[in-house]
Amino acid sequence: MSSADDNKVTLTIDGREVTVPRGMTVLEAAKSIGIEIPTFCWHPKLKPVGACRMCYVEIEKMPKLAVSCATEAMPGMVVHTDSDLVKQGRRAVLEFILLNHPLDCPTCDKGGECDLQDLTFAHGIDDSQFDFNKYRFIRDKKSTFDDYRLGPEIIRNQNRCILCYKCVRSNKEVFGEYDLGAFQRGNITEIDTGPGQQVDSIYSGNLVEICPVGALTNTDWRYNIRVWKTQKVNSICQYCADGCNLTLWKDRQKIYRATSRRNDAIDEGWICNRGRYGYQIANAEGRLTVPLIKRGERQENATWDEAIELIARRFKEIKDKKGGVCIGGLAYPGLDSASLYAFSKLFRTILNSNNVDFRIDYKMLPEEPGDLYTQITSRKFSIAGIENSDVVLVIGSNLINEHPITNLRVRKVVTQKGAKLYTLNPFATKSGDISTDEIIYRAGTVEALINGLCVSIVEQKLASDTVDASKLATRVEPNTVAQAAKISGVEADRIVGLAQALGEAKHITLITGELLSTSITRDAITAAIMNLALLCGMAENGQIGFLSKYANSKGAEKLGVMPLLSDSLIAEMKTLWGGYPEQKGLGADRMILSAKKEEIDALFVMGSDPMLCYPDGQFVREGIEKLDFLVVADLFETRTTQMADVVLPLSSIAEMSGDFVNLEGTVQHFDQAIKPLGQSMPGYDICNKIASALKEPLFESVARMQPDIMRLLLREENPEIQRELREVKTSVEQASGEYTVPLFVVDQAHHFAHLTERSKSLSAFCSEAHLELSPSMAEKLHAETGTLIRVESEVGKVILPVIISEHIDNDVAVVTRNFSANPVNDLQMRKQRVDYVRLTRVEEK
């Protein structure tokens, strides 16, 4: 049955004929028909190395046993995977691997899920022909075994290592990290970091998961429990919009670890450390367990009934006196869909107010639902789809911190499929090491740069013919490459080069991140990007990802947890609820402004900490202080709960089941792992209790409400793309006076929102906010790592320790946000596009 098709080969494995694509290995061919071959060093996502020899098979006409993981399937091969020779080979390999193995399974954390245990059990013999002393690594002299820390969370026991190199290979091939290597050789080969290095990248937890034996273990799981005593619960990560699939391992009321649950459409089996260690917040110290009511100056424990009764009474008073418009709601976009839906329904049907919002960290929200924005975001963007692209353009995003797993996909298409990556950022990021060109523009000039790109594409006659490009020059400002180059501080030939690459690309993925979405000129940037997309033909051949940030931002958008909704969504809600409030709603920013003007009297904050996250801390504080009544539901005590009149304990994601909508729009379900802690409740129950006390319940049971939620989540909004170039005029703000260094407030890789500080493992990586500076900038300030620097803006100041960046090389100040000890949002000004700061050294006395 030799096929005429050149791309297929036919071979025989264990007497069965199989046809597979050319280039497949014998191992994969065997797997495809369900024949299992034992392996150690093979991994589906890594290139084969043939290090362990466990995968021996016998191939007729070959003189020796062959390693199936690295042998390509050839036409006419006759393979035996279970002959006596193969069995003998496997036994010998295992005997060799066990030469120096300590056989300390009883104390090893991998025991019970160890490949070496399983395969020795299945294929090995229970004796050894070698009877000399085993070679022992002991790095740490106080110990009787090797117990060496490679990084904050990873412990190595070299004696258990079988040298499959999976850790080192995945670290280099997939994560692009070079902090781990194999040193020495033979008996004394050692997996170790380079001198002075630590394994502390955001992906480092995967190395533990990929290790087939217990050579690498992590501190959270270490010695705590045996794997067979735990139950697995399917979960979804709550720390970014990628929506990685997780498995939580729990016993009784405690979660012991989280591992990846491979989903090739999203994570391909990798997760970042936020997902891996973030589960610890559920069992962390300091969770709120009972409602609190402020009496006088102090918040005192109360019962749910008292708290709900008080909330209902106050809301009713305010509503009767001044109408629902005087009540506002802020929800955390990392809550499950049911809670967000109930929140919106509570406000819109019971309180008769449109003041709901989830965008807690956006400066100056737009007034109207951005019609252009919807045109872009309602189009399909998929993480797996990045693999089709030959050019990836990342604008305004520190992708590795914002979306670690999307970043891996970008890495994959660049390093393994030869795509080109261009990054446009106001400061250099880690993506720079694989970028074809990493363009650093002057802070606040991204529209000018994009306009320059558009002009250059037209000039080079590379514009797509689906759009009338002749009008471009009259619609955009600046309208020459030279001017754009001058404004943005990027050399003209680099703009031209990028424009050429974009114009010639067959399929482009454009990704924008937080640095754009939270900017006040969001609309102009969106328009500029739309122009670029039209000119490059991305509408047909490509995808645009305005990546949402939080685990359920996309869900919140679809469920309408925003003040101003599109007409079709309003119509949908009217049919669901039979009514919809008339007045226009206020967005997060305006709510706080109105609170300051005493137009809003009560605020209900669910799960978020605006005092810490919202740009312009002073402004938020003033707004919140003027409120008559503040209700906050949260997991922990935060800056916002400290000011609240009523604090309600919220359940964590592990304590309920529900769903998240990831940045692609995929609805993913997670299961409940443990019971709600203390008296805490999921968000939807809280909303329902309040609604019942005010008027009528929102729902009988969550399951009954689910169809309504799904109807909104699965609803597709399909606005026509208007093929017309938009007007984009750039205005450039200049730094003024003594504040000259542009400030960027970003997320640290190991910290997300106000929550992950409470995870013990994550705080081992990063437990405080810091100021990241380029080496030259640090030198100017005579600062070294750890030096305290006073960062002052027109509105506030904080003192932060310096770290000297490996990437940044221009004069910017990058600070990490959301650490409760250092509220860097105090530095930001809500009306200013770029915040400028002054840096001075704190002199030690």
């Binding site: 117990d147 270490r222 045996r226």
Partner: protein
């Protein structure tokens, strides 16, 4: 005839048996004052072994709990000062335990044994949760030759 068989012959026979036992060693024991030596493989209350230097043998591997058909063993692992694994909590619920001895069989560290003690009664249920400290204290004084036998056994 009947009278002769049942009274004249049988009666003295009966008395004779009684009389005979009066001069024999009694089978019963004065239990609380006098205890019986159990068979060497008797399975009574558990005890935990220590190494000769006094450290606990148990490493909290969980195999005893895994093999326990009655699910009577509960443990929580911890880390000693020099980074080794030990059982922070180790409890056996004696009310659940069926004294099958599987835990002893399963233990790879020769840490848990079923001893010869069989006196369990108590007036509350809580005291049947047998803790690690109790089990360590319960370790019998080993006769010297037994220790030698155990050492020899360990070699093979």
């Amino acid at each position: 005839m009947n009278f002769i068989r049942t009274v004249i012959i049988a009666l003295p026979k009966g008395f004779y048996t009684t009389l005979k036992h009066l001069f024999k060693k009694p089978v019963t024991r004065k239990y609380p004052y006098e205890r019986r030596e159990m068979a060497p493989r008797y399975r009574g209350k558990h005890y935990l072994e220590r190494y000769d230097d006094g450290t606990e043998r148990c490493v909290c591997c969980g195999l005893c709990a895994a093999s326990c058909p009655a699910d009577a063993i509960y443990m929580e692992g911890g880390e000693t000062d020099n980074g080794e694994r030990f059982a922070k909590v180790y409890e056996i619920n004696l009310l659940r335990c069926i004294f099958c001895g599987f835990c002893e069989e399963a233990c790879p560290e020769e840490a848990i044994f079923l001893g010869h003690e069989y006196e369990f009664s108590d007036d509350n249920r809580d005291s049947f949760i047998y803790t690690k400290e109790q089990m360590l204290a319960n370790r019998p004084k080993e006769k010297p030759f037994k220790r030698i036998i155990r050492k020899v056994r360990r070699i093979f």
